[in-house]
Symmetry: D2
Subunit: 355 residues, 4 copies
């Protein structure tokens, strides 16, 4: 979708379901993604914004759910998502020590759009997710400023880059360069055709665990390149954002997003202790009005027997999104000369077949 | 409703909302309750069955939720309620060591009603709740047999007894005799009038903690009667069943049933460690078909701003149901001559005013 | 402890356990509390910092736990507390829209104290709790700046004010002025004497629900003063911080802090929908080293049978802390002339007896 | 260990850690496993008992934890495990509709061993796990009787069979015959060498999803054999029992057992909707006395940085246990002539290489 060489361009197809048009989270109607990339020597970080729909999210909330795969992380806003089952702001991804700035900026953005917040109606619940890019980025410097959040939001578009970009600028994956990746799947049901889109911010894993479609590529690669470097004890994290237009209840959505771990596991993750692995999911099928209505809300949800297709879709899309983040990332030299190679360079250098 | 002297007959009114017609869980249309009482010397136990609606529950499930206030208990069936958000069997209450028998009986009952279970469709999730009546009952003898469960189900009726009856036969409350109690509240909303009904199986607390509508009756009473007896270290449990016809999602229902703890606390409970305190709630507003549908399910739920009334209703109804279990219970002498006085006898003997 | 007239000065004693020396969270050895109060016309807000011990918290973490009573709130940092069971920063309380600023400031504070964060060791998990003070405070103006957080931390002391102070400056309670309150209880066990301390930031409830030690003071008061004003639909929230020196595991601590709801309920709360009600607890009994040890950690925990005393202690201390926040608060006129009366002024004006 | 041809006999080694002596859950000192197999025409079911240690479990409890991967299941006893963090009975596995009988039998067994239960001390929390074997077994007939549970317990031994045995008699796996499987891993830490053992009752998956060490064997096999049969829509479940001698807190154990899903996913599971997938874990490192002690309990736990090895161990052991259940199972013809082929027969028939 974005001019980059992606996993399928290496002839690897994950799973059995069809992808959406762009094989991207933005295949879900209304979803857009924007990046701000801050890359210069010891500054290797950035911001990625996901806009769940193009209207006023605060006034027309979406059914949402969160799931913590591993909680060594600082993601903000999940308490309210869990309680109310709704999302009312864009989702911001950035580095761990910039969450305060990002929250403050997102609050400001929401206040401007909604002059009644804090005056005639209550407050707003900003969703900030993070991974720690301290190996390549001088995370203590907190390079991310409020304007970067505004900019990422205003950059949002159905077409966006993957890899070393936005919040993914300084992230690692399986000891290589990681970052942003995305993928999608179509779900054909009796009552309609739906889309499941996943975007990941990958920042986890050690090389020897990497598997591509079941193939232990990581082990091969480690044997090839470890004459010079010792294997790193990378820990890291992953943020998984799942979007769908499937009509689901909060409970159903929670069941679906939990299954992202199947795809994650199939890339080789053992979900290490030092990682914040958090999933945020939303459905665009129903809009929940902020203002109290005088009548009951009515909405649709799929029968529980329809769920398996959604489970398969999110597993496949997560697996492919992680691998897309890996194959699209570029070589980065950052803080203190720390670096991580690009998987795509190694593929070429060592003439590795991914299939 | 049942010829017994209840809390309101002592001129105590809990809260500010109106009760339903019977001030009972059965004010929720379709709900019925049946008891089997086994009372003879060291046998002081029984079974109480709650039928959530009068149709085939397996085929037309209800939206349901469970909440564990304290988990030192053996309630069965909540894993599936939490995952699927539905109830597909009656709810059986009995003593702790009879849960196996009760589960087996309820499975048998469901198999007979639904010949396709285990043949052409999956299995069934029996809901069994329990408290420990070992002080008054020889719980090791496991007096409850399968026919008692069948009988309790077939005894189910909109009108039923409270106090020393059914599963409540051998239970205690605030060091006095406890057992079954019920209460209900009406909820007037813009879009309709709804009912919240609560039934409790009370079996917890020490006398000096008992409060009635804020009045420290327990402390007074302890001072009056403790010349002869030392205060017991009762632990016990409580099972709270909440029924409503309010249209709610599983998440909303969960929020509502969690608030039962406000009423429980106001009777004086500190929620001791050795207690199984579990709430099961269901809504009769929507029936979820067992069989897969070719279309999406559509249903109604209230706006989140309507929730406060439901929160108030369940708190009030729980508080009153506990106190009803206390004032209706009768004096029991059971195992090894262990006994618990009836609160109503003490009220008379010591000329206590509850208001 | 602080020259203010507190609940016990009105001859109201909650519960049966002895209080600590100051009847304050700071009765737990090592705990200190600091405020910054921002009060001027439409600016009615502030910051309160709780320091769990006086050493380097990042290097010597405390066993901690969080519990969400109601999740319509934006408290940050609980995901990691739940996963790792430890606390590694002071706890900051402020208004809802200042959480980003507070998080950023707390991160900065931790970075300065620990130059290895983000360089040779991982990141840090800031704990920020909030309530919404928008009625009295122009919350949109976000008056809280980073220096206020630093100042609140450096103001921390064993003796501190309650009521209209720090994060409590603009908060409400039962339609009156609320804010900061504290209380403590001593726990005599066979193996030692321990302390349970609670600090609350109260911001919830409607007047007619207020109960003081079981007495329906709120209803009386409403009848007295409502000739002129209509009852407000206050929603609000409460933050409850619990400190103890009891040796407990994370699981045990979680069981304890859940019981704070019993005390909260006894002041009259129905836990309304629009409130963020969150409890954070920590135990000072064991320090968990940040750096990996070559041996196993060894620690102590109480037998589960000892828990009831802790359950009683936290219930009593929470109830009294809420009421202390109420009786110490002073009359505030804030944003747009909005005001909330001081309970203590009404007590005098209407000659109300709290006993 | 048991004379059966296991995965490693097909030259497939999962992961990188060493196995224990028997590559079995019983490599954890003190753990034993016993089966009762009921196999005759339409009766294809049974019981498997896991004894966590050889002393009196009720008096010397083990630290334990449970985790629900998917909750369409009827596992009993997890509420109390979650609340108290301890296990006090053997674990019984059987078919879904026999849980009542199994619970009743396990209660009876515990009552006999502990005459004080229900007299001078409280009750007991039986742990019963189940999968649905209705395809091969006439599950409605409930062939399992109380004596079968007693027998399975008394059959417990360090050496036991896998595959079509005990509770696994009628279970399926990836559309083939499944059942009982086990595996173990050694964990070398600075402070000692520990063992992680896993036992599974497999009953899930469709053939085309099956992967063996990353190889899509299921897809190949389906293409080979599906001339005659259409692919089944198997749903099913998995029960995962994890035993370790690692000193861990309840929270740490919970983190560990959650990682079993990585191994499960790598065999190809998408965790379908209609499955009860539940993990029960226990650590034999610390015994918690039933009776109240006058002093605090002291125990050891690993530093959080040691966890990754345990995460890797449980993932590998779970993956291999599932595959062991598959390769050891034998062809069964059961209810109504329904049958499931043995994977080992197909391997031979189609000359499939697993490596």
């Amino acid at each position: 979708m974005n001019g980059q060489k992606r996993l399928r361009d290496y002839f690897v197809n994950i799973g059995r379901l069809e992808t959406g048009k762009y094989n991207s989270i933005t295949d879900v109607e209304g979803v857009t993604v924007g990046h701000v990339t801050l890359s210069n020597k010891e500054m290797q970080t950035g911001v990625t914004a996901i806009l769940p729909h193009q209207g006023n999210l605060f006034k027309e909330k979406l059914i949402a759910s969160s799931h913590v795969i591993n909680g060594f992380g600082k993601t903000m806003g999940t308490i309210q998502i869990n309680e109310l089952g709704t999302l009312e702001t864009p989702i911001i991804l950035t580095n761990t020590l910039s969450i305060g700035t990002a929250a403050d900026a997102l609050i400001e953005y929401m206040l401007e759009l909604n002059p009644e917040i804090g005056l005639t109606t209550g407050t707003v619940n900003p969703i900030i997710c993070e991974c720690n890019d301290m190996l390549l980025n001088d995370v203590r410097a907190r390079f991310v400023k409020k304007e970067h959040i505004f900019q990422a939001i205003s950059n949002a578009s159905p077409v966006f880059k993957e890899g070393t970009v936005g919040a993914g600028t300084g992230m690692l994956c399986y000891s290589l360069k990681g970052g942003i990746g995305t993928s999608s799947r179509m779900m054909q049901m009796e009552h309609g055709t739906y889309t499941m889109g996943v975007l990941v911010l990958s920042n986890f894993g050690i090389l020897s665990d990497l598997m591509i479609n079941g193939k232990p590529i990581g082990k091969e690669l480690r044997d090839a390149i470890l004459t010079s470097r010792q294997e790193e004890k990378d820990k890291g994290s992953i943020i998984i954002i799942a979007a769908t237009d499937l009509p689901v209840s909060e409970r159903q959505l929670n069941r679906i997003i939990k299954r992202s771990v199947t795809g994650l596991s199939r890339t080789g993750s053992i979900i290490t202790t030092g990682s914040g692995e958090v999933v945020i999911g939303f459905s665009t099928a129903t809009k929940i009005p902020h203002e109290k209505t005088s009548h009951c809300l009515s909405f649709s949800m799929i029968h529980e027997e329809d769920m398996d297709l959604a489970f398969r879709a999110i597993g496949e899309a997560t697996e492919e999104a992680v691998l897309n983040s890996l194959v699209t990332a570029t070589h980065v030299v950052g803080r203190d000369g720390n670096e991580r190679p690009a998987f795509k360079d190694l593929i070429e250098e060592f003439n590795i077949s991914l299939t």
